[in-house]
């Protein structure tokens, strides 16, 4: 008479049935690791959506205008005169300046940047956007 261990058999069967699920989990993990990117999110700075496909120039000087109106230039809070801060950083008429501005702010929030750009003789200004689908 052959006696089989039913418990062992059912355990092995359960283990085997879990293999496809584990494969899927691994695939999902690889997808999120490769396709996604981790970045610090700031509720005070959500840029506008646009259909523009121009790649962001990462080497440029970055000016941020937050939802609370604070202006941050190259990770430093600008408390005084914006033109002076830009001049101090060596921004000249040929420099590249990227402006990331919170999408809900009114157009008047961009005025100090445009004034500064005019004073410094900047010919162009790049606005950071998020690609909309």
């Amino acid at each position: 008479m052959i006696v089989t261990n039913n418990n062992q058999y059912s355990k092995n069967k359960l283990d085997e049935s879990m293999v496809p699920a584990i494969n899927v989990i691994f695939l999902l993990l690889i997808f999120f690791m490769l396709a996604g990117h981790i970045e610090a999110t700031n509720d005070q700075l959500k840029v506008s959506k646009s259909i523009s496909h121009s790649d962001l120039k990462t080497e440029s000087n970055e000016l941020q205008i937050l939802a609370n109106g604070k202006i941050i230039f190259n990770s430093t809070l600008v408390s005084g005169n914006l033109v002076a801060a830009l001049k101090k950083a060596g921004i000249s008429k040929d420099s590249s300046l990227i402006c990331a501005i919170h999408h809900e702010l009114p157009a008047s929030a961009l005025d100090p940047v445009l004034k500064a750009a005019n004073e410094l003789g900047l010919k162009k200004l790049e606005l950071m956007t998020e690609l909309s689908h």
Partner: protein, 135 residues
């Protein structure tokens, strides 16, 4: 006396903790990953033509984006999505016109950028931005 020696059963490494770690990693990447792509729009500033004294063969059209989703061009208000505005844009593209865009101070940045997208889609590439205007 001969003793029967059973071969020692090979101890397999349990993969359960590994799967637990993979689950935790998956949760971490799912919750912290973003798929947004950052792009940029290049705009000319009002000072962009001050250094040029060369006579240009294009005309500059002043546009004012109002809080009512209208565009004021030469005193005439066009709804942004109107057919007349599309036709006007097509004419401006043919004439190689430059746009001098200002927005009312209450218009949101998102609306302004959406309008710029709209104009660029129509073929207008030379858009200059200037300071906001109080209504």
């Amino acid at each position: 006396m001969l003793l029967e020696i059973y071969p020692q059963k090979k101890q397999l490494i349990s993969i359960t903790p590994l799967i637990d770690v993979v689950f935790i990693l998956l949760l971490f990447f799912m919750l912290s990953s973003t798929f947004s792509k950052m792009k940029q729009i290049e705009l000319k500033t009002a000072s962009s033509n001050t250094s040029h004294s060369v006579k240009t063969d294009h005309k500059t059209i002043k546009m004012l984006l109002t809080a009512e989703d209208e565009i004021l061009i030469g005193g005439i208000a066009y709804p942004i999505t109107s057919f007349e505005l599309q036709q006007l844009f097509s004419e401006l593209v043919v004439e190689n016109s430059h746009i001098h865009l200002a927005a009312e101070s209450s218009v949101s940045i998102q609306k302004m950028i959406s309008f710029i997208d709209h104009a660029r889609q129509a073929g207008l590439q030379n858009i200059k931005i200037s300071e906001s205007v109080s209504p």
